[in-house]
C-alpha cells in the first residue's frame, strides 16, 4: 500500500490544477468544498483557519435558511457543514436541515441527508424523533436504495422508544426478495436487540429463519444476534450446535462462493464468528463439545498458511479449544499453535501468543514453564504493551513462592506507567497479590506503602479500605497481629519524619488511621511525638479537608498526657472555626475530649481496642420518630426501585396495554409499609432476631473490632507447610489438577526444556516460575484453593459486611406487619380464645394476650407454615395441635373445629386453625387448605351457648383476593354446641406480602337483637405459591418476556460446603419453588402464583452474598417474593 503515498505526491499538482481526471472522485475538487479544503491547507495559523471556517459557516447558515436554496444545493452545503464539523467547529444550525434533506431530497440528496444525520446526531438527540417519519416512509418505498438507506440509518442511530413504530416494517423486510435488504434488516434487528432486547424477543423464530437463509451474507448477519444471545444464555441454544458446526464445516471446506474469500481464505469473519459461538455453547458441556471437536480439528488443519488472517482464525480456534470441554489431542495441537505464536518474530503474533498463554494458563500452568524464557524476554521488551501483557500473565501464575519477584516487576512497571487506567488496574492487582500471598509482615507493609504512594488518589477506594480492615480484624494469632500493626506504625512514623509533601491523600488517611489506632503498641514513639507528626500534616497546605478530618480523628484517639492535650487544644482552636462543617465537628469533639479527662476515659478507654461493639442495624431507635411521622400523615417509605418504576410509568409513553400498568393502591402500600420502622416497644419483642448475632453488623467506626467471621481463617503456618514441599522447576501435577482436567491433562508432563541462556535470566525464571506447576490450581480463577492464604481470607470476608447491613431491613419489617396488623385490628377484636395466646406471649410479651393474636399468627408465615408442617407430621389428618390445645380448655373440647373439617379436605396440607373473633356465644375460627391448585378458606362458627343462634350471615370481601363461596348449603341457624363450616375458594387478585380477607358476621341473638361483627383473616402470599415446572430453555424464553423485576442481595446461608445449593434448596422447600438448575455459581428457580402467574428467580453468588433477580409479568409479585425469601433466610 505504499503506492498510496507516492500517488499522493504525484497527484497533488494535477489535483490542485483541477482538471478532468477520470473516476468518480474528482468532480468535487472543483466545487466549493474543494475550494474550502484547499483554502484551509494554504493557511498557516490556527487563527486564520478559525476565521475562514467562521466565514464559511456564516455563509452556509445564510444559504440553508434561504427559501430559494434547492435540495441539490442543500446537499452540497451539507457536505461542507460536515467538513466543518469534522474539523471541530460546531454547526448545530444545520442539523435540522440535514433531517429535512433526508426527508425531502431525492435519492442522492437523501443519502447525504442520512449520512449527515448519522454523523451529527447521537441516539439521544431530540431532533432524531423528527427522523422517524422519514424512515417510515422510506421503509415503505419501492425504491430499493431508499429502503437500504433507511435500514442503514436505523441500525446506526435510532431512538429506542420509537422502535415499536418501525419494527413491523423492518420485520417484513426479512422476507424481502433482495438479499441486501434482508441482510440490512437482520442487522437493524440486531441493533434493536442490543438496545432494547425486550422489543424483539417475539421474533426469535424469525432469527432462525435468517440463520437458514440461502444467502450467506444474510446468514452471517444473523450470527451477530446469535452470538449475543448465546453469550447471554448458552443453555437456550444448544440445539443449534449441530447447525453451527455444519455451517463451519462448509465454510472451512470452501463451499461458499469465491467472493467471500479474503486473501484466498474462505470467509474468515464468518469462521471466527462461528468459532466464538461454538466456544460459548461447548463451555462446561461435554456432550456439546463432542460435536465440536471434529470441526475444530479441521479448522486447525486448514488454517496453516502464514497469513495474518489465518493466524486470526488459529487464535480463535485455540481459544475455543481451551474454553470447551478439554480433549487431549486438540489441546496438544493448540499448545503447539501457541508455541508458534509466542516464538514468532512478528510482534503482533507474539502479543497474541502471550494473550493466549494468559488465557490458557488458567487451565494448564505448565504451559508457562514451557515458554518461560520467552516470557522473561518479553518482560524486558521495549514495547510497553508486550510488557504489560507479560505482567498480566505473571499475575495469573503468582503464588506464595514467586510473589516477591512478580510484585517487584509490576511495581517497576508502575514507576513509569504511561496512564492512569493502567496504574489503577495494576495497583489493584499488586494489592490483591500482596494480600493473598505476602510472605511476611515487613514485605506486606512495604509493598502496600508503595501501592499507596504510586496509586495515589486515583486507585480504587476499596484498596485502602480492605487494607485497614485487614489490619483491624487481624488473623488468628494475636501476637502476629500485634507485630503487623507495630511494623505498620513504625514504618509510617519514619515515613512522616521524612518528606511528606508528595504522599497522596488517601495514603495520609491510612497513615493517620493506623497511627491513631495502634501507635500505643509502639514503645519507641510516645504519643506526643506521633501527635506532633500529625500536626505537621495538618499544617501542610496540600492536605485536603477530608484528610484533615482523618487526622483530627486520629488525634482524638491519641490525645493524652499534658503534652498531648496541649497539642490537641492548639489544633482544635485552629479548626473550630473552619468553614468545613465536618472538620469543625471533629475539632469540637477534640476540644471537648482534651478538656475533660474523665470523659476521655469513658469514651476512649485505654484497652477497649478488642471489645466488639454492636449496633442495632435495624435502626429501631428511629422507630418512634417514623411512626410519629406516619401518624402525622407522612407518605410511607418506598424502596428506590419502586419509586423509579412509578416515575418511569409516569414519564414514558406507555406502549403496553393498559391492563399491565402498575396500580398504585393498597397493595403497593402493603409492600412498602414493611420498610417503615415501628415503635420500639413492639419490634423489640416481635422481631427478636434483629438483635440476633447474625444480624449485627460491625460498626464501621475506627477502633472497633468486628465480631463475626473469625472462624474459618487458616493459620499461617498451615499454608506455608502445604506450599513448601514442591521445589524446583520440574512440573509435578498434583492429583487435583488431573481430576479437574478430566483425564485430558493426564498425559505425562513433558520435562521442561531448559535452554541455556545467560544465568541471570535463568535465575529470574526460576524465581518466577517457582511452584507454578505445583499449584493445584491458580487461585485467581476462583477455583477452590486449599492453600488459601490468610490475608486473602480476610479480604474475602469483606463483602459480608455490606450484605449484613443491607439485609438487616427485614427484622424491622417483620415487626411492622404485625404491628400494623395489630393496630388495625385492635378495635375489631374484643376477645379471643386463649388457644394460641401462650404462643403470642412468647413472641411478644407486651402485646396483651387478648388482642390481635390471630393477626400475629397470620402475620408470621414461616412460623405458620412450620406449625402446619408440624401438625401434618404429627397426624395423618385430624389430630393436631388443636387437640392438644383442647386439653387445656376442657370445656370447649367438644367444639374443636378441626374435627369439623370437610372430609374431602382432610389430610391435605393446611394451616393451623386460628381464632378470628368471638361474639357472644359464637366463636369464629379459620384455616386455609391447599387443595391442589386451589386455596380453600374454611371458616368455622361454633356456638357454645345452650341456645340456637339464628339468621347467620357471613360476608367476605377482599381488595387483594377473589373470594367465592363454595359451601353448598348456606347455614343460617346454628344449634347449640354445634359448629357450622363455611368454605370459600380464594384466588389472588393483586399480590401483597400478606393478603387479607375482611369479613362481616351478622346474626340474631336469641333475644332478637341483630348483631354484627367484623373480623379479618390474613394469610401469607406464600400460601399461593406453587412450583412452576419448567426447563432451563423455557425459563430463558420466559425470562425475556417479563417486565417487572426486582434485584436484591440476600444472605447466603452457609452449611459448610455448598452454600448456594443449600440456600436454594432451603428456599425451594420453604417457599415451594421449583429449582430449575444450578450452574456453577448461579441458580435459577421458578414458581407460579395461583392460578397461573409465573415468577422467575435468578440467583448468583456474588461477593459472599446471594444476588437475586426476580422477574414476573405481575407488578407486585417479585417484590413480595423477595421479601419472603429474605424472611426465610433470616429466620435461618
Amino acid at each position: 500500500m505504499s503506492y498510496v503515498g507516492e500517488k499522493t505526491l504525484t497527484a497533488l499538482p494535477s489535483l490542485l490544477s483541477l482538471d478532468s481526471q477520470p473516476g468518480p472522485a474528482k468532480l468535487s475538487s472543483t466545487s466549493k468544498l474543494g475550494n474550502l479544503i484547499r483554502g484551509i491547507t494554504e493557511l498557516t495559523s490556527k487563527h486564520e483557519e478559525e476565521k475562514l471556517i467562521q466565514r464559511e459557516l456564516e455563509s452556509i447558515k445564510e444559504q440553508v435558511s434561504s427559501p430559494n436554496t434547492s435540495m441539490r444545493q442543500m446537499k452540497e452545503l451539507m457536505v461542507r457543514a460536515i467538513y466543518c464539523e469534522s474539523l471541530g467547529y460546531e454547526a448545530s444550525f444545520v442539523y435540522i436541515h440535514a433531517i429535512k434533506l433526508a426527508q425531502q431530497g431525492t435519492a442522492l440528496e437523501k443519502r447525504v441527508g442520512y449520512l449527515a444525520v448519522s454523523l451529527f446526531l447521537n441516539e439521544s438527540h431530540e431532533l432524531l424523533l423528527l427522523l422517524v417519519n422519514t424512515v417510515l416512509k422510506d421503509l415503505q418505498s419501492t425504491n430499493l436504495i431508499e429502503v437500504c438507506m433507511a435500514l442503514t440509518v436505523v441500525s446506526q442511530i435510532f431512538p429506542k422508544e420509537m422502535i415499536p413504530a418501525i419494527l413491523p416494517l423492518v420485520e417484513e423486510k426479512l422476507n424481502h426478495p433482495k438479499e441486501i435488504i434482508r441482510r440490512k434488516a437482520v442487522l437493524a434487528l440486531y441493533k434493536f436487540y442490543l438496545i432494547a432486547p425486550n422489543q424483539v424477543q417475539h421474533i426469535h423464530n424469525k432469527f432462525r429463519k435468517a440463520l437458514c437463509d440461502k444467502d450467506p451474507g444474510v446468514m452471517t448477519a444473523s450470527l451477530h444476534i446469535y452470538l449475543q444471545m448465546i453469550q447471554e444464555n448458552p443453555e437456550g441454544y444448544k440445539d443449534l450446535t449441530g447447525s453451527f458446526v455444519n455451517i463451519l464445516k462448509q465454510v472451512v471446506g470452501g463451499k461458499l462462493p469465491i467472493d467471500f474469500n479474503y486473501h484466498s481464505v474462505p470467509a474468515p469473519w464468518l469462521q471466527i464468528h462461528l468459532l466464538r459461538i461454538l466456544s460459548f455453547l461447548g463451555k462446561n458441556d461435554l456432550r456439546t463439545s463432542e460435536l465440536i471437536y471434529e470441526v475444530l480439528d479441521e479448522s486447525l488443519r486448514r488454517a496453516e498458511m502464514n497469513r495474518n488472517i489465518t493466524y486470526a482464525i488459529l487464535y480463535e480456534c485455540v481459544k475455543c479449544i481451551y474454553t470447551i470441554h478439554p480433549k487431549s489431542n486438540l489441546l496438544e495441537k493448540a499448545a503447539k499453535c501457541i508455541g508458534n505464536f509466542v516464538l514468532s518474530p512478528d510482534i503482533n503474533l507474539k502479543y497474541l501468543g502471550l494473550k493466549a498463554l494468559t488465557y490458557v494458563i488458567q487451565q494448564d500452568p505448565k504451559m508457562a514453564l514451557q515458554h518461560q524464557m520467552t516470557i522473561i524476554e518479553c518482560l524486558d521488551h521495549p514495547d510497553l504493551i508486550i510488557k504489560r501483557e507479560t505482567l498480566e500473565l505473571l499475575f495469573r501464575i503468582t503464588n506464595a513462592q514467586n510473589v516477591v519477584v512478580i510484585v517487584e516487576k509490576m511495581l517497576e512497571f508502575l514507576q513509569n506507567s504511561p496512564d492512569d487506567y493502567t496504574t489503577i488496574d495494576l495497583v489493584g492487582k499488586v494489592a490483591e497479590l500482596a494480600e493473598k500471598y505476602a510472605p511476611d509482615n515487613e514485605w506486606f507493609i512495604e509493598t502496600m506503602n508503595t501501592v499507596f504512594s504510586l496509586g495515589g488518589d486515583t486507585m480504587q477506594p476499596d484498596i485502602p479500605n480492605s487494607f485497614l480492615k485487614l489490619l483491624s480484624e487481624g488473623f488468628d494469632s494475636v501476637e502476629e497481629d500485634r507485630k503487623l500493626r507495630l511494623f505498620a506504625v513504625d514504618s509510617y512514623v519514619s515515613l512522616l519524619q521524612g518528606e511528606t509533601r508528595k504522599l497522596p491523600q488517601c495514603f495520609l488517611q491510612v497513615i493517620s488511621w493506623v497511627l491513631g489506632e495502634y501507635s500505643h503498641l509502639s514503645e519507641d514513639h510516645n504519643r506526643s511525638t506521633v501527635l506532633r507528626l500529625l500536626e505537621k500534616l495538618l499544617d501542610m497546605k496540600q492536605t485536603s479537608s477530608e484528610t484533615k478530618c482523618w487526622i483530627l480523628m486520629a488525634m482524638t484517639k491519641l490525645c493524652e498526657g499534658t503534652a498531648g492535650v496541649c497539642v490537641a487544644q492548639q489544633v482544635s482552636e485552629t479548626y473550630i472555626s473552619s468553614m468545613d462543617t465536618v472538620l469543625r465537628q471533629r475539632a469540637q469533639e477534640l476540644q471537648h475530649l482534651s478538656q475533660d479527662s474523665e470523659l476521655r476515659e469513658e469514651v476512649l478507654p485505654r484497652d477497649s481496642g478488642l471489645d466488639p461493639m454492636e449496633i442495632d442495624s435495624s435502626l429501631s431507635f428511629l422507630d418512634e420518630f417514623v411512626s410519629g411521622a406516619l401518624a402525622a400523615g407522612a407518605a410511607p417509605y418506598k424502596p428506590p426501585h419502586q419509586r423509579q418504576e412509578e416515575l418511569a410509568e409516569a414519564k414514558v409513553l406507555s406502549l403496553e396495554p393498559y391492563g399491565l400498568a402498575l396500580p398504585i393502591s393498597m397493595s403497593s402500600c402493603s409492600i412498602t409499609d414493611r420498610h417503615s420502622p415501628t415503635p420500639l416497644s413492639m419490634s423489640s419483642g416481635l422481631s427478636g432476631d434483629s438483635t440476633d448475632v447474625s444480624h449485627r453488623a460491625g460498626l464501621k467506626l475506627d477502633g472497633v473490632q468486628r465480631v463475626w467471621g473469625r472462624d474459618g481463617y487458616l493459620a499461617k503456618k498451615e499454608s506455608v507447610e502445604e506450599a513448601a514441599p514442591v521445589q524446583g522447576l520440574t512440573p509435578v501435577h498434583s492429583p487435583s489438577l488431573q481430576n479437574e482436567g478430566d483425564g485430558s491433562h493426564s498425559q505425562t508432563p513433558t520435562p521442561t526444556p531448559t535452554p541455556e541462556p545467560d544465568r541471570e535470566k535463568e535465575q529470574l525464571a526460576s524465581s518466577l516460575f517457582f511452584g507454578v506447576s505445583s499449584q493445584s490450581s491458580v487461585c485467581l480463577m476462583g477455583k477452590p484453593d486449599s492453600t488459601f492464604n490468610r490475608r486473602r481470607k480476610a479480604k474475602v470476608q469483606a463483602p459480608g459486611v455490606t450484605e449484613q447491613l443491607s439485609s438487616s431491613v427485614a427484622p424491622v419489617s417483620n415487626a411492622v406487619d404485625n404491628l400494623l396488623c395489630n393496630n388495625l385490628q385492635d378495635s375489631n377484636i374484643n376477645s379471643v380464645s386463649a388457644a394460641s395466646s401462650k404462643q403470642t406471649c412468647e413472641l411478644s410479651p407486651r402485646v396483651p394476650a387478648a388482642n390481635g393474636t390471630c393477626n400475629t399468627d397470620c402475620g408470621l408465615p414461616e412460623s405458620d407454615r412450620k406449625r402446619s408442617n408440624l401438625s401434618i407430621s404429627r397426624d395423618n389428618g385430624l389430630v393436631d395441635a388443636d387437640s392438644a390445645l383442647s386439653e387445656d380448655q376442657g370445656s370447649r373440647s367438644d367444639l374443636c373445629p378441626s374435627s369439623y373439617l370437610p372430609a374431602e379436605l382432610c389430610g391435605l396440607y393446611r394451616s393451623e386453625i386460628a381464632p378470628l373473633c368471638t361474639a357472644h356465644s359464637l366463636e369464629l375460627s379459620a384455616c386455609h387448605v391447599h387443595q391442589g391448585d386451589d386455596m380453600i378458606l374454611i371458616i368455622f362458627i361454633s356456638n357454645s351457648s345452650d341456645s340456637q343462634v339464628l339468621q347467620i350471615r357471613l360476608d367476605l370481601k377482599s381488595e387483594q383476593l377473589k373470594v367465592t363461596c363454595v359451601s353448598d348449603s348456606s347455614v343460617e341457624n346454628i344449634k347449640s354446641h354445634t359448629v357450622a363450616v363455611y368454605q370459600y375458594s380464594l384466588a389472588v387478585k393483586r399480590p401483597g406480602v400478606d393478603v387479607e380477607v375482611d369479613g362481616t358476621l351478622s346474626f340474631l341473638l336469641p333475644a332478637g337483637t341483630p348483631q354484627t361483627k367484623h373480623f379479618s383473616y390474613k394469610l401469607p402470599l406464600t400460601a399461593f405459591i406453587r412450583p412452576l415446572l419448567i426447563s432451563t430453555e423455557e425459563y430463558g424464553t420466559m425470562w425475556l418476556g417479563f417486565s417487572h423485576e426486582v434485584k436484591q442481595n440476600l444472605t447466603l446461608v452457609d452449611d459448610g460446603c455448598e452454600p448456594l445449593t443449600f440456600t436454594l434448596n432451603l428456599l425451594k422447600n420453604r417457599l415451594q419453588l421449583h429449582l430449575v438448575e444450578i450452574i456453577g455459581l448461579e441458580g435459577i428457580l421458578a414458581c407460579r402464583l395461583l392460578q397461573n402467574q409465573p415468577c422467575l428467580m435468578h440467583c448468583r453468588v456474588h461477593a459472599g452474598a446471594l444476588a437475586v433477580w426476580l422477574r414476573s409479568p405481575v407488578p407486585e409479585l417479585p417484590d413480595c417474593l423477595v421479601y419472603h425469601c429474605q424472611r426465610v433466610l433470616q429466620e435461618k
Binding site: 503506492y3 498510496v4 499522493t8 489535483l15 473516476g23 469534522s86 454523523l119 436504495i145 474468515p268 503482533n348
Partner: protein
C-alpha cells in the same frame, strides 16, 4: 464489537471519524487527541495494538494515513487489523489507487463505503464484490445526477 474508527494523517489531522456507540462531543475530542498522540508516538516496527482504557486500539499506517480502530477487549486483534485492510482495499477499488487526497475531497464517499462495510460496529459484508456493487448501485443515481448538474442549470 467495534467502538470507533479514526483516520488521521501523519500530522495528526483528522480525516474521517466514525463512532459506533454514542459518545459526547467532549469525549470525542478527548479520544481523538489521545489517539493521535498515542499512535503517532509509536516507534516503527512496534506492535500494532495498544491498550487504551478498557479498549484495544488497533492501528495501521498506510502511506501518510493512519487507520485507528478501537475494539472491545475480547475481540480478535488480528481480525481487526484485517478489517482495516479490507476497508483500504474497498477504498482502493472504488477510487482506483486511493490516496489521502481522495479521502479528503470525497470524504462523504468514504463514509458511504464504510457504511456498506461496517454497520453499528459489526462487519456487515465481507465480500468485496457485494460491497462495491451496492455502492455502485447508489452511485448510478449519483452519476446521472452529476451529469445533470454539469449542465448549466443555474
Amino acid at each position: 464489537m467495534m467502538r470507533f474508527l479514526l483516520l488521521f494523517s501523519r500530522q495528526g489531522k483528522l480525516r474521517l471519524q466514525k463512532w459506533f456507540t454514542p459518545i459526547s462531543e467532549r469525549e470525542k475530542k478527548k479520544i481523538i487527541r489521545d489517539m493521535t498522540n498515542m499512535v503517532l508516538a509509536r516507534q516503527p516496527r512496534s506492535c500494532n495494538f495498544l491498550d487504551w482504557k478498557d479498549l484495544k486500539i488497533i492501528y495501521k499506517r498506510y502511506a501518510s494515513l493512519y487507520f485507528c480502530l478501537a475494539i472491545e477487549n475480547q475481540e480478535n486483534e488480528l481480525l481487526a487489523l484485517e478489517i482495516i485492510h479490507r476497508y483500504v482495499e474497498l477504498l482502493d477499488k472504488y477510487f482506483g489507487n486511493v490516496c489521502e487526497l481522495d479521502i479528503i475531497f470525497n470524504f462523504e464517499k468514504a463514509y458511504f463505503i464504510l457504511d456498506e462495510f461496517i454497520i453499528g460496529g459489526e462487519v456487515q459484508e465481507t465480500s468485496k464484490q457485494i460491497v462495491n456493487r451496492s455502492i455502485e448501485a447508489s452511485d448510478m443515481l449519483q452519476e446521472t445526477m452529476e451529469e445533470y448538474m454539469s449542465k448549466p442549470a443555474f
